[in-house]
């Protein structure tokens, strides 16, 4: 069943749940998984996002999300001006992806301290989103759960070390996936959890042997 507050909701800035509210969430997901405020963003729009995105404020919505706004923020229509004030440079271009959802954006973002992330996500309807790729690695998660993204070396036992830290913190796992582009390269583990992950557990995961980095998206509060 659909969440009844997906039926009566979200409370959002218009005009379109898929082209506006979903776009805000995609931008905010990119900022969160970058782990810092972006100073540069190169945004590719695919399909209907490219065709009717401007009329729906999709461009402003994506930038609003990159600034950390949520779908109900009345600052969304002014996000371009706010971005200039906060030192976020952005540019848009049209892209053509194969086999991608019609409402897809690819965001290449960079922070002041040199962190980089390329995120491909789709707005799947009603303001819901799905992240499809991180730095070229196929993934699939929605932000409905608290979400931990760990980049680590592809070595035996890494997953169990990460999960152990969650288990001792009493965090239950809802969904999980381990993704890599080739054997022995870097791997990406995505863990969706029922409970919030405590800060100290995150810190312990970040310093585990073989872990190259970990970012964490906490689901939107009611």
């Amino acid at each position: 069943m659909l969440d009844i507050f997906d039926i009566l909701g979200p409370v959002m800035v218009g005009p379109s749940s898929s082209h506006t509210a979903g776009a805000v969430r995609i931008g905010r997901m990119a900022r969160t998984l970058l782990g810092a405020a972006p100073v540069r963003a190169d945004i590719g729009l695919h399909g209907s996002f490219a065709d009717t995105g401007q009329g729906h404020g999709t461009d402003r919505a994506l930038v609003a999300g990159l600034l950390g706004m949520k779908p109900d923020d009345l600052g969304i229509p002014e996000s371009f001006e706010i971005a200039v004030g906060q030192g976020l440079e952005f540019r848009f271009h049209t892209i053509h992806l194969r086999d991608a959802h019609p409402n897809t954006a690819v965001l290449a973002v960079e922070s002041a301290d040199g962190r980089k992330l390329v995120l491909q996500a789709a707005s799947t309807g009603g303001g819901r989103i799905r992240v499809d790729q991180l730095d070229g690695v196929d993934v699939s998660f929605t932000g409905i759960f608290n979400t931990l993204v760990v980049r680590h070396q592809d070595v035996a036992g890494e997953l169990s070390r990460i999960l152990n830290e969650l288990s001792v913190s009493g965090v239950n796992i809802a969904n999980m996936s381990l993704n890599r582009d080739r054997r022995g390269g870097d791997a990406l583990t995505v863990v969706e959890t029922d409970q919030k992950i405590p800060q100290d557990a995150l810190e312990r995961i970040r310093v585990l042997y073989g872990v190259l980095g970990a970012t964490y998206y906490e689901k939107e509060e009611d």
Binding site: M1, L2, D3, I4, F5, I7, L8, G9, P10, V11, M12, V13, G14, P15, S16, S17, S18, T20, A21, S48, D51, T52, Q54, G55, H56, G57, R60, D72, L74, I76, P77, F92, G125, G126, G127, D222
Partner: protein, 296 residues
């Protein structure tokens, strides 16, 4: 699985000896693992956001294309100057539907119900009723649970998106939700709620989603009006004891089927219907020209 049919809700009402709204609330409590109080608080906040979307209307706002804005004010001004054909309640319903749908097109804050494109329908029938007095705020919140339960069933069995089911799935569903909420507020039975839902949905069956230039503006804003007025008439018919001959769950399934049979041109792609008229094409050309200008 919970709330898969209206019949299932009727059965739960009977088995649990509890009202319609409580069946929906209890489902929310179970699905999201929250307390009954937290669920009610969230629905109350949703209602307050609806009221705010009406209260913060400004007639001088315009949408990106410039085609939308100011019509709700025209309706209010007209109604202030003379007796309208449709009378005090319906004239407020019309103006409120316009005002919320216009606010949405102008990038203001609304409650998607069930979608942003159909956001005007529920506030249009509920806010004027609340403003006239005699209706408790908590009763409205309970009616919103009824509306949400109806929307959940339609979303599960058919569709609530214009891209997959046409406008009948958006404004049609909103009208069905609003009709059910109104019957609940007036003390109707669960069966009467079902008949109101069936009638509201049947009356908009086959409605195309054909937005000019792909924008949630024309004809979306005014279709919120027909959704709301349709909901009021369906609710009054049900309260009068008029029944839908086709059972409600069959009507919902039929709406889903009609949606799948609608050509893709009439499902939010802006390739057919009003979007394909010479006027629609000229708006699209103007938008594209502006887009290129801003990129340069």
């Amino acid at each position: 699985m919970a709330l898969d049919s209206m019949q299932e809700i009727f059965d739960k009402i009977q088995a649990g000896q509890k009202p319609f709204w409580q069946v929906v609330r209890d489902t929310d409590v179970e699905e999201r693992q929250v307390t009954a109080e937290a669920s009610f608080r969230k629905m109350h906040a949703t209602w307050r956001a609806m009221v705010e979307s009406v209260d913060t209307y400004r007639a001088d706002r315009r949408s990106v294309s410039g085609l939308v804005g100011g019509d709700a004010q025209k309706m209010w001004d007209y109604a202030a100057g003379q007796e309208t054909l449709c009378g005090p309640y319906l004239q407020e319903v019309i103006a409120t539907a316009l005002c919320v749908a216009e606010s949405n097109a102008c990038m203001h804050r609304i409650v998607a119900a069930p979608t942003a494109g159909a956001c005007g329908v529920l506030p249009a029938v509920l806010v004027p009723l609340y403003r006239r007095g005699g209706v408790e705020e908590d009763a409205i919140v309970r009616a919103l649970y009824v509306a949400a339960g109806i929307g959940a069933v339609i979303g599960y069995r058919a569709s609530i998106s214009g891209a997959s089911g046409g406008c009948q799935a958006e404004v049609g569903t909103a009208a069905a939700m609003a009709a059910g909420a109104l019957v609940d507020l007036r003390g109707g039975t669960p069966e009467q709620i079902g008949h109101a839902v069936a009638m509201a949905l049947k009356n908009l069956l086959g409605l195309a989603c054909d937005p000019v230039a792909g924008l949630v503006e024309v004809p979306c804003v005014k279709r919120n009006v027909i959704g709301a007025v349709n909901a009021v008439s369906a609710a009054d018919m049900a309260l009068a004891g008029i029944e839908s001959r086709v059972p409600v769950d069959q009507v919902i399934d039929c709406m889903g089927d009609v949606g799948r049979r609608l050509p893709v041109e009439l499902r939010e792609t802006a390739l057919g219907g009003l979007a394909a008229t010479p006027f629609g094409q000229s708006v699209k050309a103007r938008q594209e020209e502006r887009h290129r200008g801003e990129l340069r």
